[in-house]
Subunit: 209 residues, 2 copies
């Protein structure tokens, strides 16, 4: 079943997952393609097309079963396979993510943080130990984390990504606003761009005038 | 021209803007629907359909002019109309955003920050003054900021959003992971969900195995 899902649909699945999770939290068990589309800013026919790949779901007049669809999307996105992560940069942004982001819910265990600040090294943030960033290479060589989260100052982004790749990192979650794609093609990189949601807000405000 | 752009396309425009900005920064002036689609995880035909709304762009065999398309998208998203913003919560996440996010590039001036921490009140973060959060209502009544950025602990999210709405805020940029939609229908809310990009990374890692 999984092989039929196109790359384009894959990129949209996390948004479906977020919205379906919200519906699940609200106790909603079924939703129509029209209502789901309205919530997500898609047309009903786009929703039907995207979710068609899963087969068996969404019979005419019944709507989609929220739980079943969430499970299927979670499996395709491999959220059910627990992976390990390290975060490099335990400053403002790094601390905020360590303290507030639910790694576990998204299939990750955060095993260590790294920083250059002597005041942070040796401490714990929400139970995650903070190590000297100079120990990053040794730690990764010995512990093989799956993902590196980049929350350090952007001038160190390329160097840090290089170390992680040397040590066989499998993916990079990049908050530094530096485009790393060109440097390390073999390792997938995902960038968090705050700007996109602010642009949507900008549009909505303009519309309300 | 603007009236022809559907809500569904609007929601995707910020992603086009981000990717076209990257191309512009790289000095690329034209791009085909195929190449742009590859970069964004969309099919060439989806790109052509989405950008059709602008008319006049993307003649067969010529590709899209990057600068012209960026300008058009910027106008539709009202990025060219400068708006003011206040940020509530100058802790880890708030400081990280104040220090690193380019509000100006996205059409916003950040005019003030608010916090409850006596150590922060009266200081400046990257030139932005930090005021006592108890002064939020008075400040907003007098200065009419357009947008409120919520980076405070989530337990204060609803109360703060309520104050902002009382004072006529035009939009809320919400980092607290609390769904505010239901409370304040008249004011648009945009939520930043870190999880979605981590889910894409999870998929890409699974794929590489």
């Amino acid at each position: 079943m999984e092989k039929k899902v196109s790359q384009a649909v894959i990129r949209r699945l996390p948004r479906y997952h977020t919205h379906l999770s919200e519906l699940q939290d609200m106790g909603i068990t079924k939703i129509s393609s029209k209502d789901l589309g309205d919530k997500m800013g898609l047309t009903a026919s786009q929703v039907r097309q995207d979710l068609n790949c899963f087969g068996g779901f969404g019979q005419q007049g019944y709507g989609y079963p929220v739980d079943g669809l969430l499970d299927s999307i979670g499996q395709i996105l491999k959220l059910d396979e627990m992976k390990s992560a390290v975060i490099i940069g335990a400053g403002n942004l790094g601390s905020a993510i360590i303290n507030n982001f639910n790694f576990f819910k998204n299939g990750f265990r955060l095993v260590a943080a790294f920083d250059a600040d002597p005041n942070l090294i040796g401490t714990e943030i929400s139970g995650v130990p903070v190590y000297d960033v100079r120990e990053l290479r040794e730690f990764c060589t010995n512990n093989h984390p799956d993902v590196g989260v980049l929350t350090m100052p952007k001038k160190f982004a390329r160097e840090t990504a290089g170390i992680l790749c040397d040590c066989g990192i499998r993916g990079i979650w990049n908050f530094t606003n530096i485009d790393l794609h060109l440097d390390i093609d073999a390792v997938p990189v995902e960038n968090v761009h705050f700007a996109e949601s602010l642009m949507v807000l900008s549009y909505k405000i303009g519309e309300k005038k």
